[in-house]
C-alpha cells in the first residue's frame, strides 16, 4: 500500500513524505519519548527504514537509547542496512553528503518510508560552525522533494541558544513540532533566499 503521509508519534501530527520538521524538545527524556513513538512504526514495518545523523557519537547514542527503550537490540536492522548511522562533519557540504548518500541508497533499495532523526548541536568540535550549520539545514528541504523520507531535526530548548532555535529551528524548517502540536513555521525562509537574506547580513553585521 502506497504511503503518502506518516504519523510523527506526537499528538495526532501527520506529515507528507518529503517533509523537513523541526522538533523542539525539552531535554533528553522528552526526546526519547518522541523518538520511540516516531520510529516504532519503522521498526515494526520491514518496508520502512531508519537513519540517525548527528555529531560524532550522537547517532550511536540515539540507537542505544532506542534499544534501551524498546528493550531489545536492533542489530538485525543494522545488519540488514535497514537502520543506518550517519555522521556529521565540520565541513557542512560533507555533512550533507553523509546524510543524502545513505538516504539515496535506502530509497534505491525500495523502502516505502525512511524516517530520519537528527539531534542538533551548535558550535561543537567536529561539527560545522553555526553559520555553516544553518546553511546545511537550509539545503535539506529542497533535496527531500519527491523522496519517501521525513527528516526530524531535534532542537533541545534547554541546551541550545536563541540563535540556533530561531534561525536554525524556525527559519530553515517549514514545519515545527512542539509540545505535541504541529504547525507551519511562520518565519520559514525559502532556501533560495536563505543565504542572501539571512546568513550574509548576519555574518556581515557580526564583522562590523
Amino acid at each position: 500500500m502506497k504511503v503518502d503521509r506518516i504519523a510523527l508519534g506526537a499528538g495526532d501530527a501527520h506529515v507528507p513524505l518529503g517533509s523537513h520538521v523541526c522538533l523542539f524538545h525539552e531535554g533528553e527524556t522528552d526526546l526519547r519519548a518522541t523518538q520511540l513513538a516516531y520510529l516504532r512504526p519503522a521498526i515494526d514495518d520491514p518496508q520502512q527504514a531508519v537513519l540517525f545523523v548527528g555529531p560524532s557519537g550522537v547517532a550511536e547514542r540515539q540507537l542505544a537509547s532506542l534499544e534501551a527503550d524498546l528493550g531489545r537490540s536492533l542489530s538485525d536492522m543494522v545488519s540488514a542496512d535497514r537502520l543506518v548511522l550517519a555522521q556529521g562533519d565540520r565541513d557542512p557540504d560533507t555533512q550533507l553528503e553523509n546524510l543524502f548518500g545513505p538516504l539515496e541508497h535506502l530509497v534505491a533499495a525500495g523502502y516505502d518510508v525512511v524516517r530520519v532523526l537528527g539531534p542538533v548541536a551548535w558550535a561543537v568540535p567536529g561539527y560545522p560552525p553555526p553559520e555553516d550549520f544553518l546553511w546545511y539545514e537550509s539545503r535539506i528541504t529542497p533535496l527531500l522533494t519527491e523522496l519517501p523520507v521525513v527528516v526530524l531535526c531535534a532542537y533541545d530548548v534547554t541546551q541550545l541558544p536563541g540563535q540556533a532555535l530561531a534561525y536554525g529551528g524556525l527559519e530553515t524548517h517549514p514545519l515545527v513540532l512542539m509540545s505535541g502540536r504541529l504547525s507551519e513555521s511562520p518565519i520559514f525562509v525559502p532556501p533560495e533566499r536563505f543565504v542572501s537574506a539571512r546568513l550574509v547580513p548576519l555574518l556581515n553585521e557580526s564583522a562590523r
Binding site: 525539552e26 557540504d93 536563541g162 530561531a166 543565504v195 539571512r198 550574509v200 553585521e205 564583522a207
Partner: protein
Amino acid sequence: MDTGEFASLAADSLESGLAIVDPAGTITWANTSWRSAISRDAPRGREKALGTLADLAAGARGAAAAAIEHGIRAVIEGDSASFQLEYQAVTEPHRRFLLSATPLRAESRGAVVMRRQVHPLFERHEPAIGGVHSAEAAPPLDRLTPRELQILGLLARGLSNRAIARELGIEYTTVRGYVRTLIEKFGARSRLECVAMAFRWGMVE
C-alpha cells in the same frame, strides 16, 4: 518587580513558550503555552486577538506577562544580536529558566521570544555566528582565478558542491577542492564566512 517575585511567577509555568513579535510589539504567532497565557490574561473583547506585549505587560499578572515586562523592552531596541535573562525559580531553586529574544531580519522583522527551562550546563554566552572580524583584510581579487570567481558566485547562491558540479559539468571532488582553496584565500573560518566576505567586498551580488 524583584527577581524573587518574577521567578515565583515563572515557576508555575514549566512548558516552554515561544512567540514571534513584530517591531510594534504585536504578537503575530505563539505556541500553546504563550496562547494559554494570552487568552487567560487578555482584556475583554480581545480574546481572539493575539494582543501586544504592552497589553500583556500592562494589565496582566501571569508568568508570561511578567517575563515579557522584564525581558522584551531591553531586546527590541538597539542592535543587540540577542538577549537573555536567566532566573531561578524561588519555589524550586534547582530549576533555572531562560527568557531569550533573537531578532529577525530576514523575511520577517521583529523577534523570536522563548521562555524555557534550561539545563544546568546551558551555554550562557552564545557562540557567535561568524565572530571573525576581518574588516581590515583586503579582498583577494587579484588572487582568484576565473574558475574560482565562477564557483564563488555559485556559492553565493547557496548551492552545494554537488549542485555546483552539475551546473558546471565538472567533478564533485574538483568543486570541493576549489571551495577549500577559496576559503583559504579569503582567510575565512567557514564556507559561509567566505561568501559573506565576498558580498561585503562587492565581489558577488
